[in-house]
Amino acid sequence: MSIISVRNISKAYNKGKTVALQDVSFNVEPGEIFGIIGPDGSGKTSLFRILTTLILADSGSAVVDGYDVVKDYKCIRQHIGYMPGRFSLYQDMTVEENLSFFATVFNTSIEENYHLIEDIYRQIEPFKKRKAGKLSGGMKQKLALSCALIHAPHVLFLDEPTTGVDPVSRKEFWEMLQKLKRNFHLSIVVSTPYMDEATQCDCIALIQNGRFLTIDSPQGIIDDYTETLWAVRSDRMHKLLTDLRDIKGIKSAFAFGEEHHVTVDASVITMEALTQVLQEEGHQDIHVEKVKPSIEDCFMNLQKG
């Protein structure tokens, strides 16, 4: 049985003018890391707030850990851990005070569930007498995760936990999540705007403008990609992008790190033909190669359609 089951959830703000979520449905299986990936403003936080019983959906239903989010919201609150996108612990209380406060309001104690947070909390324990507001970004995040875990929730909701965190800490954070999943069979729903984090999840949903574009495993999404994808480089990258978009046979072109990724209609244009056209446009050091699609390529492709 799925631990989270969402059916046709819709939500709009400003009396229907701003649509946040449209007809969203998905399931999360126990012990799975489910990633919700999409740009800012795509409705990720609204979805989290509905599932954590903070706001009501306009229509649709959702069941979390066997409880309905509207009728049994009190039971849900006992069994979920929520880490909002914004640091929301008491900044004027110390690390230790925050942790024991959240343990006690859930009617438990740090000792009782210490095994859950041990790996994470050990890293900030040397600073336990420090006020939460005086911690560095990475440490704040570890504290927030500890506080969300201290009552041994069945499901963990993490809203953009890695936004504004340096690459090393991001990697560490994902390792922590993988450990939690492995050791405690915890179900985790996590949102992120970073496409490169998608592969860390067992299942991902790509979301845009309140709609799920697709739900699948990261490999499944990549396998579904049918376009021909080339990476193009030249000495004048900025001009290259506009030039590429004007060439016949090129369906889309967008910047991707140090290269531009283009999807092409292989029946219209070949690599050699493209190189030649670009040379005529005045580009030098032209480099074209076929590449394997990443999640970001899939997202860009799905987003068009």
């Binding site: 903070l54 006992q78 914004r86 929301s88 004027d92």
Partner: protein, 368 residues
Amino acid sequence: MKALRYLLVKEYKQMFRNYLLPFFFVVLPFAMVNVVPRIATQEIKNLNLAIIDCDHSTLSARLMQKVSASEYFNLFAVCDNYNQAYDLLQRGDVDFIITIENEFERNLYRTGGAEVMVTVNAVNGMKGGLGNGYLTQIVMQYAGELSAENGTSVKHPVSVEPRYLFNPGIDYKPYMIPALMSMTLVLLVGFLPALNVVGEKERGTIEQINVTPVGRIEFILSKMIPYWTVGLFIVAFSMILAWKIHGVVPAGSIPLIFLFNIVYIFVISSLGLTVSNYSENMRQAAIVMFFFVVIFVLTSGLISPLSSMPDWAQEATRLNPLRYIIAAMRDIYLKGSTFPQLISQFIPLCIYGIVAGVWAVVSFQKNS
């Protein structure tokens, strides 16, 4: 209700970790009880006076001496003519002009009567009215003295000897201090809760609380109880200050004062929390609370007596919780009123408390 204990521990920690708050809990009562009664006095002293003596006689000189010897008046100038004195009045140097007519002494001896003109600057109505009263008193007294000396039968039939009950010296302080205590409470235990819940909203910490099983009654109680204790501390502290600094002690029972304040603090902190629940940010909460505090203070009878307000305004002040506590505090301090005598203040305060308390809990939404 188990979580209430931990919520309270958290609230107290936060309250005393904010270095400004405990400081205010001591400084504000001190300022209100020590300083304000000295400056917000309705006694009028040091009125400046110009005298135009057209007579230059012994009797006119004696009148001048008598007026300027009074503690209420300073003789600012002796002028030769009215225009000169009027200039001083226009410039604001003097508040009163006394004109002693030509032939003052002669008329007095010959006809038994003479005229003194008093010109009053009435821009500040209270100053003008009170000063005029004092001045008339002095002149009448002088007339009495003169007639007694000469044995003439100047009418001196009745002398009014007022006796002021409950506050024999008509001292302003015992009247103001109990009311100022109630006002201090509005500022601290009304305003601070108003900023509290909305502060958690602004900092985002409410999100984390909302996903816990903490109930809203528990949550609101955890916000209210700290202000209750602080409020009662402020009452006790203010009473000690009033006693040590001004020698003002309640004529009535001290437990009764605390009983009233327990209900009153509940009322205003509930109002503050209700405002906080409805506000989206601190600025909104502060401006709404400021509006209420100003209206409450001005219509509470703290400054202008309720009985001199128009009827509709008097009815409207029934919605003001400050009105009841100020009336009760003054009655207990000055008259030593007992509980049965104050029941008409106590019951509305209790009703207000129930309404505001329920409202504060109901308006706190854990989800939307």
